[in-house]
Symmetry: C2
Subunit: 360 residues, 2 copies
């Protein structure tokens, strides 16, 4: 029984689905079972090019995928505006859900998705791959070490890439009707998740968008930033953008230590990733004023982070299917918190940079 | 004539004066000529312990130092609240001025100092050492390279150190009557200077302090942050603190490149300093999503940055003394801009985080 892999179906042929197809193939507890597209030919071509076995089911509609009783789980990389519709239908058809980020256009939509998963006893997880890299756990260990790091005081996250003219005009991510959250929903999702992660997923009290966001002609966010404040005095800032060079940085400062990672979303290398940390770097000599160098930590991994994600997701699905376990509620909970903060930043921008309470 | 070194006097025996004494000694065009303290014995001890030549003049008051006609230049590391008084008297006595940062409690005070220097034909420079490290010029070269870096979009600066209980209660830097600007005047000065430096000293239109500054019981800033906005859409943030682990970071993102430096205020090593830069790190492969690693640049220097500073200052003083040159106005100009932004951040905090126009 333990050897039965989770049978995955993919809805749509988004670019990112190439990466996930490879991950499902590489994950020992998962198998590529079906792919569906509004175009049968596109689905067929996608399957042929992305390592689907010859036995894989090819469907010319998303409905047909969801109607297949042998599909255990679906990966949904559709544009955000379509998430609620297809996630709800998938849940109704009893498919476990691996959903791309941002999970929804707002938390009200997402709450419908979570409810449908709960009612149907389904596992939910969003596609935030870096959460599953072993480096992430090791960084968390340092942040949690009150001897080495002390207490977190402030954290800063920067995620960006420079879209070319074609991206900024035609990509799904800048289309009001498809991914209306723009850079905030995409690059900003990573920023917000990383900040919440550093804060043990404690929600901030308030967020205030920073002035100077850049909007497209259609009103979609191309770049923006925000500050966040917690009850205990912790603060954070982030900046997300489609208009500047690649950035994937988390910088966290505690009372006794610091942590730096420059490629947290996608590690530079697939099997080895690093970060640096410093601890109580006080003055060592007042006249020359030297400080100790931060220490570089290297974490190796046999499986790329997206494979770790699929493996974790499938392991939870198998527990439910084979052992009658309950779905793990931590994953939808952190998706929801991320969306809550994202919504608050968007409202703050819309209200002219007013402070916005983060709803519970 | 060219070999005549500039004769320096130091006002007071602050800790940082130890570093400057060493720098003056190491600088080929400068000599330690005198030191004055309100206590003659303290001055004598300081001179003995900090490499002053046996011929050095020891004075039991600041006035006596300034009355010595053979003093060319004074280094003033006194608490900020005393700057205007002693800088004005020094200028009246025709002493060139190397003044510790923050240069004054506000720009109105500083304008009196600049005016006194101008009227008396004196060189002014503030003690921001990292500006003089050859690494700084090399980083500027990259920021200015439109091929490699593109156009600057956003810059972030973090400067902090964790003061112990004694520091947070008794250090000059947290005394309302001595250094009333607290962490903003000290760590924040470096943040603001680094942001202005990255922006070619173009002033922002507006600054808005971030919520959540930490004040001492006496009302002195122990930690705070701000966002800054420019006419052309550039943005910046900074965080300065006496309450978290050592940080000295500049992170700048352009349309085509990025720049990271983690020890800009005081390099980890005295004779070799590094920074990293990346350029057009686009996706190299969509499925595995790899990015090019940033490139580490190493800059060596025979002279520590504080010696470079003294050498530059003395070279300007010698030009004035020996060649009748005019004082270099760029140095007081960037001091003034730094103070202007600092003042605006302080006002924004006082006004409950309102946007504040940066005065000209």
């Amino acid at each position: 029984m333990a050897e039965t892999p989770v049978r995955f179906a993919i809805l749509g042929c988004a670019d990112i689905a190439q990466k996930l197809s490879r991950a499902i193939n590489l994950s020992p507890n998962s198998t590529l079972y079906a792919v569906g597209s509004r175009s049968f030919d596109k689905a067929k071509k996608f399957a042929a090019e992305n390592g689907f076995p010859p036995s894989a089911k090819i469907y010319g509609s998303y409905e047909a995928v969801l109607d297949d009783p042998d599909v255990d789980a679906v990966y949904i990389p559709l544009p955000t505006s379509l998430h609620v519709r297809w996630a709800l239908l998938a849940a109704e058809k009893k498919k476990h859900l691996l959903l791309e980020k941002p999970v929804a256009l707002n938390v009200a939509e997402f709450d419908q998705i979570i409810e449908a998963c709960e009612v149907n006893g389904l596992q939910f997880m969003d596609g935030t791959m870096w959460m599953h890299h072993p480096r992430t756990a090791m960084m968390k260990e340092i942040l949690s070490d009150t001897q080495r790091f002390g207490h977190l005081k402030t954290v800063h996250s920067f995620v960006s890439w420079a879209g070319d003219d074609d991206f900024l005009k035609n990509n799904i991510r800048v289309k009001q009707d498809l991914d209306g959250l723009g850079a905030l929903g995409d690059a900003g999702w990573y920023c917000i998740r990383s900040i919440l992660w550093a804060c043990d997923f404690e929600l901030p009290n308030t967020v205030i968008a920073l002035r100077g966001p850049v909007l497209s002609e259609a009103g979609v966010i191309l770049a923006c930033g925000s500050s966040l404040q917690w009850e205990d005095g912790k603060t954070a800032t982030f900046h997300c953008s489609f208009l500047s060079n690649v950035a994937m940085d988390i910088i966290a400062f505690g009372t006794k230590g610091s942590l730096y990672v420059h490629d947290f979303v996608i590690p530079y290398l697939e099997k080895s990733a690093s970060f640096s940390a410093a601890s109580t770097n006080g003055y060592t000599e007042i006249v020359t004023g030297r400080f100790a160098l931060p220490f570089e930590h290297v974490v190796t991994t046999d499986l790329p982070q997206e494979v770790c994600m699929v493996r974790e997701f499938s392991s939870l699905v198998k527990s439910i299917k084979e052992c009658g376990s309950k779905p793990e509620s931590e994953w939808p909970s952190i998706s929801r918190k991320t969306q809550l903060v994202l919504d608050a930043v968007k409202v703050s921008i819309e209200r002219g940079f007013e402070p916005v309470q983060v709803g519970a």
